[in-house]
């Protein structure tokens, strides 16, 4: 079977072609074409298939990750959208949850809602928390609302009524009426998009879906048409934020599910690499030009969060728009190669401001004047001045040195090397504090995890980060440069459904639980039919649970099997183990309740899964060289071996200190650490732990 995965990013579109019979893979990077994203896809496919000497018709499946929905929201370039809501609640979207993302700044503004107040209309109806309808829907008010939407030339409508998660009837009536009266309007109803309680989050999620639906629909149709014209089989799958694939059709209906498409694929790649080297617990560390992203894979399964935010300001929690659909758990901080170093209170502060790619770090010589993490790494000898981007860019080391000297070293009374080291150290320390949140604070013991590091700057900072927090093993995957695209190949078709039903857990409620899961299964099956893929469906049950009276829930993986009186005991046991893992504390007397229930269906396709890395380590490699590299762990500048990664083969061993260079990233091996080249090309680094490293 031939599968092609492509991930469209802001700068590059990455491709992987996998032939699981012949057991080889091709990788490709082409510049993205933001004005017409499909152009880069067609261009790349042509090159890739040419290289592989394959016909377009031989490709069985196309897998796709895209930022189209995210960008439409970030740039507020979605469709003109209206909202229909319950009488008395016109301002749910405007009011939001009201918290400031900066406590001490009273001059901030809230995120701009996706729908203007003038386009929000109320209808007469009321559904109560238990699903009963205390005031029936008044169709005259619905017709008036539709007329208003039509006369305002809107393209999309979101419908979100109070407590509709408990009874979708009135929303469905409105949807049907719209398709009857105004069939051209694209409709999204909250009981389908995100049937969970808390009206602001549900309404915003629905509004966001409506807002991007026309754009995503047009984009996918155009892509499908173009692919069909090139004789590709029309079997296109799109990555969801949850790390599962859906058919193009479902992506068009629920575009809100594909917001974090690319990052989800990145975490999945971490999972594959972990599997390759026999590690089930993985922290993924993706550090690029402007940010660092941390994710986790627990027991082989990517960690998922039920809600996330889009459009953060300065990475502050609460500054973006909340989206209530499952997504891979990612913590993003403003620390990338381009993050700017400055002095605050006589100390070094890094980011979140970034020099980006343009002008970029000082060493790029494109007009950057503020020292960045990359400049520090160049001064310390970590990054080669003449083999950056495989030699495509010559770095100006001299400019980087003088930038750090003038801006950091002199004002602080440090030597140049101390200042550069300070920048590197402080950046690593900031990431270590973020990593603590992902690991220790969320119940993950770093000693049980391996770190998979990728992105341009990830492999350079990974070992010190791992050493700082006590992670014993770092893996730099082969093909790290097209990491997310590789992750797509691992993904399975997946449907997530969930609902809110607040329920205290006791044997008496087992029949209620059974009916909740029955109706979730029914919903999932409707989507599975639209997925139209062959394979065995695997079901996983989850619940978001807490002690009665608490306000935050923990995710609990529920056992499978018959739901009877005994099952409720199993639920409580599962909660106890999840809760104590996270909070190291159990209250045996407290009553436990479930807030949200969710069911995940994954379709296990029949295909042989081979490693896709076997063909990777090709190309002309360079001879070993040496240069001065800063290792304060031993003695400042040390003459260090520089190795071209392509010269390494399976089972080779490299001892630190060393630098291993890839065309698109550089791996730093610390003194005392040992690298083994895995048979699939990964660099597996055994990280000496802190106490030992000191001696």
């Amino acid at each position: 079977m031939i599968r092609v995965a492509f991930d469209i990013g802001g700068t590059f579109t990455d491709f992987v072609l996998e032939d699981d019979i012949k057991n080889f893979a091709y990788f490709l990077k082409v510049p993205s074409t933001p004005y017409d994203p499909g152009a880069a896809v067609l261009n790349g496919l042509e090159k890739l298939l040419g290289e592989a000497r394959l016909e377009n018709t031989s490709v069985n499946t196309l897998l796709h990750a895209t930022t189209i929905a995210t960008n439409a929201i970030l740039e507020r370039k979605g469709a003109a959208t209206g909202l229909i809501t319950t009488q008395g609640f016109r301002d749910i979207l405007i009011i939001g949850r009201q918290k400031r993302y900066e406590t001490y700044d009273l001059h901030i503004n809230k995120p701009k809602p996706l729908i203007q107040r003038r386009h929000i209309t109320e209808v007469v109806e009321r559904t109560d928390f238990n699903g009963s309808i205390s005031n029936p829907l008044d169709m005259t008010s619905v017709d008036k609302a539709i007329e208003k939407m039509v006369s305002s030339n809107l393209e999309a409508i979101a419908v979100s009524l109070i407590h509709s998660y408990a009874n979708p009837k009135n929303e469905q009536l409105i949807r049907d009426r719209i398709s009857e009266k105004a069939p051209n309007l694209s409709v999204s109803i909250s009981s389908e998009i995100s049937p969970k309680f808390r009206e602001y989050e549900r309404t915003n999620t629905t509004a966001a879906n409506a807002y991007v639906k026309p754009i995503v629909g047009r984009y996918i149709s155009a892509l499908e048409t173009a692919l069909a014209e090139q004789d590709f089989e029309n079997d296109l799958f799109v990555m969801q934020s949850s790390g599962g694939l859906v058919s193009a059709k479902i992506a068009r209906d629920y575009p809100i599910r594909i917001i974090e498409s690319g990052p989800a694929a990145g975490v999945l790649m971490g999972g594959i690499v972990g599997k390759n080297i026999g590690e089930r617990h993985v922290i993924t560390f993706d550090m690029g030009g402007t940010t660092a992203k941390l994710g986790a894979v627990d027991g082989g399964i990517p960690a998922i969060t039920p809600t996330f935010e889009v459009g953060h300001i300065r990475y502050k929690k609460g500054s973006g728009l909340p989206i209530n659909v499952p997504a891979v758990e990612l913590l993003e901080i403003g620390a990338g190669g381009g993050s700017i170093a400055k002095i605050e209170f006589g100390m070094i502060a890094i980011g979140p401001e970034s020099a980006g790619a343009d002008p970029g770090p000082i060493c790029y010589g494109k007009g950057g004047t503020q020292p960045t993490i990359t400049d520090a790494n160049v001064v310390l000898g970590y990054i080669s001045g003449d083999w950056f981007n495989a030699g495509e860019m010559q770095l100006n080391i001299k400019a980087a040195r003088s930038g750090i000297l003038e801006n950091i070293a002199k004002p602080l009374g440090l030597t140049l090397e101390q200042a550069a080291w300070g920048i590197h150290m402080v950046a690593t320390n900031n990431m270590e504090n973020a990593l603590r949140i992902v690991s220790v604070e969320r119940g993950r013991d770093p000693r049980a995890y391996a770190m998979v590091a990728f992105g341009g700057a990830g492999p350079l900072h990974a070992s010190r980060l791992a050493r700082g927090i006590g992670i014993p093993k770092v893996v730099i995957p082969a093909g790290a440069g097209v990491g997310s695209a590789i992750g797509l190949l691992e993904a399975e078709p997946r449907i997530d459904v969930s609902t809110t039903h607040v329920l205290k857990v006791s044997p008496e409620v087992s029949s209620t639980i059974r009916s909740i899961f029955n109706s979730l299964e029914q919903r999932a099956n409707e989507d599975i039919q639209r997925l139209a893929v062959a394979g065995v469906t695997k079901w996983s049950r989850y619940a978001y649970m807490r002690y009665v009276g608490q306000g935050f829930e923990v995710l609990v993986n529920l056992p499978s099997g018959t739901i009877d009186e005994k099952y409720t005991n199993a639920i409580i046991n599962a909660f106890n183990s999840a809760y104590s893992k996270k909070h190291k504390f159990l209250d045996k007397d407290a009553i436990v309740e479930v807030v949200d229930w969710s069911l995940v269906a994954t379709i296990q396709e029949e295909r042989t899964k081979n490693s896709i890395y076997n063909s990777l380590l090709s190309g002309q490699s360079r001879e070993k060289t040496v240069r001065q590299v800063w290792f304060p762990e031993v003695d400042g500048f040390v003459e260090t071996t520089i190795i071209d990664r392509r010269s390494l083969s399976a089972k080779d061993i490299v001892m630190g200190p060393a630098v291993i260079e890839d065309p698109d990233s550089t791996t730093l091996i610390l003194p005392g650490d040992k690298v083994t080249i895995h048979e699939q090309g990964h660099l597996v680094i055994e990280v000496t732990q802190k106490e030992l490293a000191k001696n």
Partner: protein, 557 residues
């Protein structure tokens, strides 16, 4: 104190960042395990690290309401438990209004941290408990409470944990005096567990860098943050800036309370805020103990002077906050204070009025005032008590260059409680939650709108304890901006509409509708200068009606 040790800026940076990370982690742990709504939705808690001399070296960025109390809590604890009497595994608990943050629900836990047998510092956290006993659920009843003894259990410092074991005798006294003892116990234990995690990390920091280095870093941090605060304060033009405003009253039929401040900037980095000209303390539970006055005065200074560096004791050295003893802003025990949270917006508003004269572009129109009612009773369906603790928050005053945002939390920083969550837990139905047009003070930059929330009682009986303000004195505008409209609270029973006081108690029955109308916020600059497009946009979006536009802006289509 150890001899000053040389410490390089990189080590210093890493130590300080780690300390802040510890203070933050302490808070997130607490937030995620708490039962108290105040803690998890309102971030009504705080965390801090101290050196062995009880000086605060880092404070977590949580509720500004504890900016005043946290720095001194360790010193207070040491007055009762001298340092040499403390052992590893001990922890001190207190909630006294004067020693703590101004009312009983905030419990502080203070844990000494040792490296072997040497005391190297303290970690502390406070959390707003669901109840501390007293006259009404939540221990914040205002009206009819005339002295602190009616407000619940007062804890002068006690050793809640000894050598790692909870003192069950003390715990029993506490739990025997509070409503919802399970939740109070859970939150007291959560505070202790969070402190333990922070203490472990602090020990690791000392081990990694050595006691001398960390102590030297502490010294530098205290001095640097003092210096940074002085620099920020010295940018404010020297002078004395004064302002006064009034609270409605302290219960039905009582007199307004004068809130006055005189702020003196020396011009070389010192500031004094003096609230002495304010009214005397009142016989109702809204007095502001000095720590609470300090908290929001400090908050205002940080906001106006851009002094957003991490909070330490050093940063407070250049700031003097005082009020005449026995006055509303510095009452003496047993002045009651449970409901003092209602003051936070008004303390800021008062300072803002004065600072407008010093820093016109940083000032803003007065906030819409929030409403903070408690509706409780016995739920007919379960025969168990229910308490609907609610907070409604509306707009900001107009700001230089920008309208006030709609419906954003002022001063304190909390989230609202969703309609669907309230209705799931309480026998009520919320009829509406909407912005009120034509309520924001007109101006070149308009004040945010007021808000209407209507709650229908579905239970046979219930009691409202109301806590709100601005029913009598409008939120002021600045530099020619108009004030926002007055707030109002009404009881709709059958066809009658009864006006309720901003602070009072009302018995309710099934079918009653409570209508809470929040004030609009004040405008900035004269209305004549408002841009035509801004007026048109407001009309289109319904923030201003056609009639309102004609009246306030003399606008014609």
């Amino acid at each position: 104190m150890t001899e000053q040790k040389q410490i390089d800026p990189i080590t210093l940076t890493v130590i300080w960042n780690t300390m802040l990370s510890i203070a933050d982690e302490l808070g997130t742990t607490l937030r995620h395990t708490a039962f108290s709504e105040g803690v998890r939705e309102g971030d009504d808690f705080s965390t801090a690290l101290f050196n062995s001399d009880a000086l605060m070296v880092a404070q977590g960025n949580f509720s500004p309401g504890h900016l005043g109390a946290m720095p001194t809590c360790v010193k207070h604890a040491l007055n009762y438990f001298p340092a040499e009497s403390l052992k590893p595994g001990d922890s001190i608990l207190l909630n006294d209004s004067f020693l703590g943050s101004g009312h009983f629900p905030d419990t502080f836990q203070i844990m000494p941290v040792f490296i072997e047998t040497r005391l190297v510092g303290f970690v502390a956290c406070s959390a707003h408990q669901v109840d501390m006993g007293g006259a009404a659920p939540g221990s914040q009843k205002v009206h009819g409470v005339t002295e602190s003894f009616q407000e619940g259990l007062r804890l002068l410092p006690v050793r809640l944990v000894r050598g790692g074991d909870i003192e069950e005798d003390i715990m029993r006294i506490i739990l025997g005096n509070v409503r919802m003892p399970d939740k109070v116990r859970g939150d007291l234990l959560a505070q202790h567990a969070a402190n333990l995690t922070a203490a472990e990390r602090l020990q690791a920091l000392f081990r990694d860098y050595g006691i001398d280095t960390v102590e030297a870093a502490y010294e530098l941090i205290l001095n640097r943050s003092e210096q940074a605060m002085r620099e920020a304060l010295s940018k404010v033009p020297a002078g004395i800036y004064s302002f006064e405003d009034y609270l409605d009253d302290y219960g039905p039929g009582t007199q307004p309370i004068k809130m006055a401040v005189d702020i003196t900037f020396s011009g070389d980095g010192d500031v004094e805020l003096d609230f002495s000209r304010s009214s005397d303390a009142v016989p109702a539970a809204i007095n502001s103990y000095i720590n609470y006055t300090k908290a929001y005065a400090l908050f205002a200074i940080k906001v106006f002077c851009n002094a957003t560096q991490p909070q330490t004791e050093g940063a407070m050295r250049p700031i003097t906050i005082k009020a005449r003893e026995g006055s509303f802003f510095n009452p003496k025990f047993p002045a009651p204070s449970g409901g003092r949270a209602i003051l936070q917006i008004r303390i800021f508003d008062t300072i803002n009025g004065a600072m407008a004269k010093a820093l016109p572009q940083k000032a803003m129109g007065a906030f819409s005032h929030w409403s903070n009612p408690n509706i409780g009773g016995i739920d007919d369906r379960t025969s168990k008590p229910f308490v609907m603790y609610d907070l409604s928050l509306a707009g900001y005053g107009g700001r230089y260059g920008e309208d006030g945002p709609e419906a954003l939390t002022p001063v304190m920083n909390c989230t609202n409680i969703p309609v669907e969550v309230h209705e799931t837990h309480n026998p009520i139905r919320i009829k509406c939650l909407e912005l009120l047009p034509d309520t924001g003070g007109a101006g070149q930059w308009r004040g945010g709108c007021g808000l209407k929330k209507e709650i229908e009682i579905l239970n046979s009986t219930a009691t409202l304890s109301h806590l709100a303000d601005r029913h009598k004195f409008q939120p002021y505008g600045v530099f020619g901006g108009q004030p926002g409209t007055l707030a109002g609270t009404y009881l709709l029973r059958k066809n009658e509409k009864k006006s309720l006081a901003s602070k009072g108690v009302e018995e309710l029955r099934k079918g009653d509708i409570l209508s809470f109308l929040l004030s609009g916020a004040g405008g900035y600059g004269p209305a004549e200068l408002r841009k035509k497009e801004a007026i048109e946009k407001d009309i289109e979006d319904g923030y201003v009606t056609l009639q309102g536009a004609k009246k306030d802006y003399n606008w014609t289509p």
